[in-house]
C-alpha cells in the first residue's frame, strides 16, 4: 500500500474504534453537561433544575477515579502477591485456605462489605476505600491462582532445567504467561469497584453516584439520568481499555 492509502486506512481504523468513541462521549458529557440543559429541560419540564450543579462532574469523576484507583492498586498488589505465595512450594499449605476465603467472600454482595465498613470507620471515603480494597482483592487473587496454574508445566520444567533461578522463572516465564488471566481478574475487580464506588455515595463518598442518589431522594429524574449515563460510560470505557490491553498482552497466543 502506498503511503497515502495506508495513512487513510489507519485513520479509518481509528474512526471505527469503539474505545475512542466511548471516551469522546464520556469526556464531552463530563465537561459539557451544562450545555445540554435545554435538552433536559425539554425532557423533564416539571423540574426546576434539570442539570446537576452542586458539584462539577469533572470533580466527581476525579474523586471516583481516585477511590477506584487507590483501592484497585491495593487489591492488585496484595492479590497478586498472595496468589504468587500460594503457588510457591512454601505457600502451598495455605492454598486451600485462600481458595476458601476467596470463594466465601464472593458470595457476599459488594454492598454488604461497604455497609459493614461504615459502622467501623464512619462515613465518607474511608469505608469505600476499605470495602473496595477488600472486595476487589478476591477476583485478582482468584485469577492469579488460575493464571499461574495455567502455565504449561513443560515451560516451567524447561525454565528450571535451563538454569533460570526461581525469581527469574517467576518474572520471565510464569508471570508473563499468567498475565492474560490475571489481567482478566483485575478487569473484573475494577469494573465491580466502579459500580460499588458509585453506591458509596450513599455513605458520603463523593463519586459520580452522587447525582443519582441526590436525584433519587429529590425525585429529580434528570439528575439520576446524568449520573447513570456517566457511571455507565466510565465503566464501558474502562472495560474497553482493558480489552485493548488484553489484546496487546496476548499477542503471542494462538488465535482461539
Amino acid at each position: 500500500m502506498s503511503g497515502a492509502a495506508s495513512a487513510s486506512a489507519t485513520r479509518r481504523a481509528w474512526a471505527r474504534d469503539p474505545l475512542l468513541w466511548a471516551l469522546a462521549a464520556l469526556l464531552l458529557l463530563i465537561f459539557g453537561m451544562a450545555q445540554l440543559k435545554p435538552l433536559f429541560a425539554a425532557l423533564f419540564p416539571a423540574l426546576e433544575r434539570p442539570v446537576y450543579a452542586q458539584d462539577s462532574f469533572f470533580g466527581l469523576t476525579l474523586s471516583h477515579l481516585k477511590i477506584v484507583g487507590l483501592s484497585s492498586g491495593f487489591a492488585v498488589l496484595v492479590g497478586v502477591a498472595a496468589g504468587i505465595f500460594a503457588t510457591r512450594a512454601s505457600g502451598r499449605e495455605f492454598r486451600p485456605l485462600i481458595e476458601t476465603v476467596v470463594a466465601a467472600g464472593q458470595t457476599f454482595p459488594p454492598v454488604a462489605v461497604l455497609a459493614v465498613a461504615v459502622p467501623v470507620v464512619g462515613f465518607g471515603e474511608a469505608p469505600a476505600l476499605i470495602a473496595l480494597a477488600l472486595y476487589g482483592l478476591l477476583p485478582v487473587l482468584q485469577s492469579t491462582l488460575a493464571g499461574i496454574a495455567s502455565v504449561p508445566p513443560a515451560a516451567n520444567e524447561a525454565a528450571e532445567g535451563l538454569g533460570l533461578s526461581p525469581w527469574q522463572r517467576l518474572l520471565q516465564v510464569e508471570l508473563p504467561l499468567a498475565a492474560p488471566v490475571i489481567l482478566a481478574g483485575v478487569r473484573t475487580s475494577v469494573i465491580i469497584n466502579i459500580g460499588t464506588a458509585a453506591i458509596a455515595s450513599t455513605v458520603g463518598a463523593k463519586t459520580l453516584g452522587l447525582p443519582i442518589i441526590v436525584g433519587l431522594s429529590g425525585f429529580n429524574t434528570a439528575y439520576v439520568l446524568q449520573g447513570a449515563v456517566l457511571v455507565g460510560l466510565l465503566a464501558v470505557v474502562t472495560d474497553l481499555a482493558f480489552e485493548r490491553m488484553a489484546q496487546r498482552l496476548g499477542r503471542w497466543q494462538a488465535a482461539a
Binding site: V111, A112, P119, V120, I199, T221, A228, G232, A235
Partner: protein, 392 residues
C-alpha cells in the same frame, strides 16, 4: 521452625489471638441509642459472673487448637482440630449469648449487648480452622461441603433454641419482625421474578449461539456491555424510560409498572442474569465431545433425542455453574434495588446505614449472605451429585 507442623493453623491462631486482645469482643450499652463500651474477651473470661462453664467451653478448645499446631498432621489430629474449632465457635457464641442474658437480667430489657469485631473475627478464624482441617481430611468435595455444614449445625441449634435472644441483633429482629418478613418476601420475589424470565430468554439464546457461529460475537458483545454497566446505573437508566412509558400507557401504571419500584429492578436484574445463563448454556453444549454426539447419531437417535438424552445431561454441570453464578449475583444485586424503591433486604441495610445502627445493617446483610451461601452450596451439591452419573 521445624517444630511447627501446621503453619496454617499457627497463622489462624496468632490472628485469633490478635483479634481477641486488640478488638472488643462485645459492646454493651444501657439502651439502643447510647454509645456502647467495649468488652474484651479477657474481661469476659475473667468476669463470668459465677458461670465459669462458658469460659471453659471456649478456653479448652482454644488450648487444644494451640497444641494442634505442634502435632503431627495425622487424620486424628485433623478430626481433633475440626471438633475443637467447632466447639470454640459454639463456645464463643454461647459466651456472648449468656453475657447478653445476664446483662438483660441486671439492667432490664432495654440494655443492649452487641457482637463486636473481636467476636466476628474469632468466629471467622475458628470456622476457617475447621474448614481447613476438613479439607485435609476429606478428598471428595461433597464431604467437604457437608462437613462445613456440620460446623454450623451447633450454632443453628442454639439460635433455634433462643439462646441468642438477648443479643442486640436478635432484639432488633424481634422489634421489626414484620418489616423483616416483608423484606424477605420482597427479596425472594425480586430474585425469582428476575431469574425466571432470564432463564426463559437466556437459555434459548445460549442454545441458539451454540448452534450458530454468526450469532455468538454480537450476542455476547451486547451482553458484555450490559454486564459492564454498574447495577446502580442500569437501575437508574431504566427509571426514566419506564416512567415515561407508564405516563403514556396508563394501564401499565395500574399493573404496577412504574419508573420506580419492582419494574426497573426486575428488568435490570433479568438483563444481568442473561450473560451467565446464556454463556454457561453455550459453553456447556459446546464442550460435549463431538465423538459422543456422532456415536449417538450413529446409533439411530433423532436430533431431538440426541439433544435431550445426550447433550443436555452432559451440558448440565457447566450450566448449573452458570445458574449458581446468576443466582448469587441476583441475590446480591437485589440489595441495591432498594435504592430505587424495590424493597427487599436492601431497604433494611440502607436504613441502618443512614441511622448509624450496625445491628440494622447486619439484620439486612446477614440474611442476604445466608441466602447466597445456601443457594451456592445447594447448587454445588447438586452439580456434584450429578457428575458421577454423567461419567458412567
Amino acid at each position: 521452625m521445624a517444630w511447627v507442623k501446621n503453619r496454617v493453623l499457627a497463622v489462624l491462631v496468632l490472628a485469633g489471638l490478635a483479634a481477641a486482645l486488640g478488638l472488643s469482643f462485645l459492646t454493651q450499652a444501657p439502651n439502643r441509642l447510647a454509645a456502647g463500651s467495649g468488652i474484651s474477651l479477657v474481661q469476659l473470661v475473667s468476669d463470668t459472673g459465677g458461670q465459669p462453664i462458658d469460659a471453659w467451653l471456649a478456653l479448652l478448645p482454644a488450648l487444644l487448637l494451640v497444641g494442634a499446631i505442634f502435632m503431627h498432621p495425622a487424620r486424628s489430629t485433623q478430626i481433633l482440630v475440626c471438633l475443637a474449632a467447632t466447639l470454640l465457635l459454639t463456645g464463643l457464641a454461647g459466651m456472648a449469648a449468656s453475657h447478653a442474658t445476664r446483662l438483660a437480667g441486671q439492667s432490664g430489657a432495654i440494655a443492649r449487648t452487641s457482637l463486636g469485631g473481636g467476636f466476628w473475627l474469632l468466629a471467622a478464624f475458628s470456622w476457617l480452622a475447621a474448614t481447613d482441617a476438613m479439607q485435609r481430611l476429606a478428598q471428595k468435595p461433597i464431604w467437604r461441603l457437608l462437613g462445613v455444614g456440620v460446623v454450623i449445625v451447633p450454632l443453628g441449634l442454639l439460635l433455634g433454641g433462643g439462646a441468642f435472644k438477648d443479643l442486640s441483633l436478635l432484639k432488633e429482629y424481634a422489634n421489626r419482625q414484620d418489616v423483616f418478613n416483608a423484606a424477605l418476601w420482597q427479596h425472594v420475589q425480586i430474585v425469582l421474578a428476575s431469574l425466571l424470565p432470564a432463564l426463559l430468554i437466556g437459555v434459548p439464546l445460549g442454545l441458539a449461539s451454540s448452534r450458530s457461529r454468526a450469532l455468538r460475537p454480537p450476542l455476547f458483545a451486547v451482553l458484555n456491555v450490559i454486564q459492564t454497566v454498574p447495577s446502580i446505573a442500569l437501575f437508574a437508566l431504566l427509571m426514566a424510560p419506564l416512567a415515561l412509558l407508564a405516563a403514556s400507557v396508563p394501564v401499565l401504571a395500574q399493573l404496577g409498572i412504574k419508573g420506580i419500584g419492582l419494574a426497573p429492578a426486575v428488568i435490570a436484574l433479568t438483563l444481568y442474569a442473561l450473560l451467565p445463563l446464556a454463556r454457561s448454556t453455550a459453553a456447556g453444549l459446546s464442550q460435549v465431545p463431538q465423538p459422543v454426539i456422532e456415536a449417538a447419531q450413529g446409533m439411530g437417535l433423532t436430533a431431538r433425542q440426541v439433544f435431550w438424552r445426550v447433550e443436555l445431561p452432559l451440558a448440565l454441570p457447566v450450566f448449573l455453574a452458570g445458574l449458581r453464578v446468576a443466582t448469587v449475583q441476583t441475590i446480591g444485586m437485589a440489595v441495591v434495588a432498594a435504592l430505587i424503591g424495590a424493597g427487599g433486604f436492601g431497604a433494611i441495610v440502607f436504613q441502618g446505614l443512614l441511622s448509624g445502627a450496625l445491628d440494622l445493617v447486619l439484620l439486612g446483610v446477614l440474611p442476604v449472605v445466608a441466602m447466597a451461601v445456601a443457594v451456592d452450596a445447594l447448587l454445588k451439591a447438586l452439580a456434584l451429585a450429578l457428575e458421577p452419573n454423567v461419567n458412567d
